[in-house]
């Protein structure tokens, strides 16, 4: 059985690597990783050069018919009259200066955090956190396409008459997708690492020592990869059920946004719905990856709960996908791909 699945997975890769879609999705993943790194780079540079920026209260600006603007703390605290904002009321400037003095106390920590986000290994958890949402969307598209093409082109019939067996064939597809998701994460991480190394040479390190660790980076990669698996099984089930890649993509992507809108909406109306939300897949994915070092850290108990929920969804949706795939009569091409 394992040998059969391994052989089928090898030939699944033979098919997938010849599709433009795979490489375009990978390019998107890498691009978003790069955006995270270079976004952090410019953010750090800005923090160093301005000492932090404050936004002038919008109400004040609008009262005086001026567009929204920011002021640099370095300018405000420099004491140089030429660098002071001449267009603002002195009392407003005094207030902003006071805020800047408060911020100055935490400036070393802010610089350190910003520096960690630019350089290795701290840039990896941050970039993967940025990539997380896109990763779910990309893997949903790839999963629906890889499984749905056999319905659209009608090739499922040609495949099954070769004696592959239904379970091994679907199993090989899922294994290939899970492995590809991992490899794509590693590829994105590698490009993040290269960019971070370049960025590190372009910035000046702050005085405070970095607290980012390689183990946290490794955990972030591991959790990001695992968080994609429930979404692979969710999209696989929907695609098999609908016998269509288009339906798989639409429902796979739609669910991601629908759940978040639903949770946000119903949690405001019913307090008990926050408990229900703890058992929903996208919410659990957010809780699971939130504990990996990026975003708000989840408590260990939340992490375990999210992990159990995601394992449950993976097993249940995977079992449903296999059962449906096994039971259904195989028809001709449905069109599309």
């Amino acid at each position: 059985m394992i040998g059969t699945v391994a052989n089928l997975a090898r030939w699944e890769w033979f098919k997938l690597r010849r599709r433009w879609m795979l490489w375009i999705l990978l390019a998107f993943a890498i691009l978003f990783g790069q955006l995270a790194v270079w976004g952090s780079f410019f953010s750090y540079q800005n923090l160093v050069s301005t000492g932090g920026e404050l936004t002038v209260p919008a109400s004040l600006q609008s009262q005086q018919g001026r567009p929204p603007r920011t002021v640099s703390c370095n300018d405000l605290l420099s004491g140089d009259p030429a660098r002071q904002p001449s267009d603002l009321d002195p009392s407003v400037v005094d207030g902003l200066r006071a805020q800047c003095r408060q911020q100055l106390a935490t400036q070393p920590q802010r610089l350190q955090r910003a520096y960690e986000n630019v350089t290795l290994p701290g840039s990896i958890p941050l970039a993967l956190g940025t990539l997380q949402t896109l990763g779910l969307i990309l893997i949903a598209v790839l999963t629906a396409s890889a499984i749905g093409i056999d319905y659209g082109a009608g090739t499922l019939r040609s495949v099954l008459v070769q004696g592959t067996g239904r379970w091994p064939y679907l199993g090989a597809k899922l294994v290939t997708l899970v492995v590809l998701a991992g490899l794509a994460l590693l590829a994105a991480t590698a490009t993040i690492a290269i960019s971070s190394s370049v960025a590190e040479r372009l910035v000046t390190a702050p005085a405070a020592a970095s607290s980012a660790t390689w183990s946290a980076a490794g955990v972030a990669i591991w959790k990001a990869w695992l968080s994609l698996i429930p979404y692979i099984t969710l999209t696989a089930f929907v695609t098999v059920l609908a016998r269509s890649s288009a339906a798989g993509m639409a429902i796979g992507l739609g669910y991601y946004f629908a759940e978040q809108i639903l949770v946000a909406l119903l949690s405001n109306f019913f307090s008990w719905f926050t408990t229900v939300a703890d058992y929903l897949p996208v919410h659990s994915i957010a809780a699971w990856t939130g504990g990996s070092g990026f975003g708000a850290p989840a408590a260990p108990a939340d992490l375990a709960h999210a992990g159990f929920v995601l394992v449950g969804y993976t097993l249940a949706l995977g079992a449903l996908a296999f059962w449906t795939f096994h039971r259904r009569d195989v028809q001709g091409a449905t069109g599309g791909g």
Binding site: N7, L8, R10, W11, F14, K15, R18, R19, I149, A153, G154, T155, R157, S158, V159, L160, V161, Q162, G163, T164, G165, R327, D329, V330, G332, A333, G337
Partner: protein, 312 residues
């Protein structure tokens, strides 16, 4: 895994039934396909040919009944690896070339070696377009690739569903010759078609389906000659009609267009002429009526073989 000895059946179904809700696609089908040669699986569109193939290939779940291939229940992976099949329109990955598609199906089914692919592509005359994407193929080329795919791994049993669809006349002749060649040497070809003239030229055995039911099956020659008849002209047709009705060799006799149509085995034609001569009635004309598969089909199914519509 069972092996089928010479003279035994490679496909055997007993009471095979497939229902889609209230629609009965296959109705208690008991089919027997002998080993070797070309077996014609005939019937008008919608008669259940493709559904039966689907059940035999494990693509469609049967509602009831039994189906065995090589003596084993259908759907076993090991059994399927001894079978090649092209069911309905050939389906391949549109973004892969013809060669890459064959490599893929060869790889997943462990069917033969890389050298087989070139040989099969040449066999179906696709060598020059082997590296073009499948999406760019004409219907005839797709059909040829489907046949090549069905032959990967030199299978013992090959299902070909309407293999000449989309082929030009020269291509039809080539495929007909190919099918005839494939049926020699112990391999069994199950050929599903509604082109009865084509089927008659290549098949050794046939089964005829209509509305999911098996109408008849057997050796082609036996079926076509079972109702051998001839036009008979005599010096006294009215007396001959009465006389021949009592002759044991004559199964049926009827007056038609001023002549008699006599149904009797050709080997016993002498008995007919002798009986007439002894009664002083002399034969002026005796012309054998050759039954074609098409006429035989229309007679037993009372339907047009192409459209499946009833004959009025």
């Amino acid at each position: 895994m069972s092996d089928v000895a010479a003279g035994e059946l490679v496909i055997e179904t007993d009471g095979l039934t497939k229902r889609y809700g209230d629609v009965v696609a296959i109705d208690h089908l008991s089919l027997h396909v002998p080993k070797g040669g070309v077996f014609g699986f005939l019937g008008p569109n919608g008669s259940g040919k493709t559904t039966t193939m689907g059940v035999l290939l494990g693509l469609v779940q049967r509602t009831s009944g039994e189906a065995r291939i090589f003596g084993d229940p259908v759907g076993h992976a090991a059994t399927l690896r001894r079978i090649g099949a092209m069911v309905e329109t050939p389906t391949f990955y549109p973004y892969l070339s013809g060669r890459a598609n064959l490599r893929y199906f060869q790889g997943i089914g462990h069917r033969g070696t890389a050298a087989d692919i070139d040989r099969l592509l040449d066999l179906v005359d696709l060598g020059k377009r082997a590296d073009s994407k499948f999406a760019t193929y004409s219907l005839g080329m797709k059909q040829r690739l489907g046949i090549a795919c069905a032959l990967l791994g030199d299978p013992e049993l090959v299902f070909l569903d309407e293999p000449t669809n989309g082929l030009d006349p020269a291509g039809v002749v080539e495929v007909r010759e190919l099918i005839r060649d494939l049926g020699r040497g112990g391999r069994t070809i199950v050929l599903s078609s509604h082109l009865l003239a084509e089927t008659e030229l290549v098949c050794d055995h046939v089964a005829v389906l209509s509305r999911g039911k098996l109408i008849v099956q057997g050796a082609m020659k036996e079926l076509l000659h079972a109702k051998d008849s001839f036009w008979l002209g005599t010096t006294d047709d009215a007396a001959a009609l009465t006389l021949l009705s009592a002759v044991p060799a004559v199964e049926h006799v009827v007056a038609s267009d001023g002549e008699l149509v006599v149904t009797a085995p050709p080997a016993r034609a002498a008995e007919v002429t002798r009986a007439l001569a002894e009664a002083g009635i002399y034969v002026t004309k005796l012309v054998p009526i050759r039954h074609t598969l098409e006429s035989f089909f229309m007679e037993i199914t009372e339907t047009d073989p192409t459209t499946g519509r009833g004959l009025t």
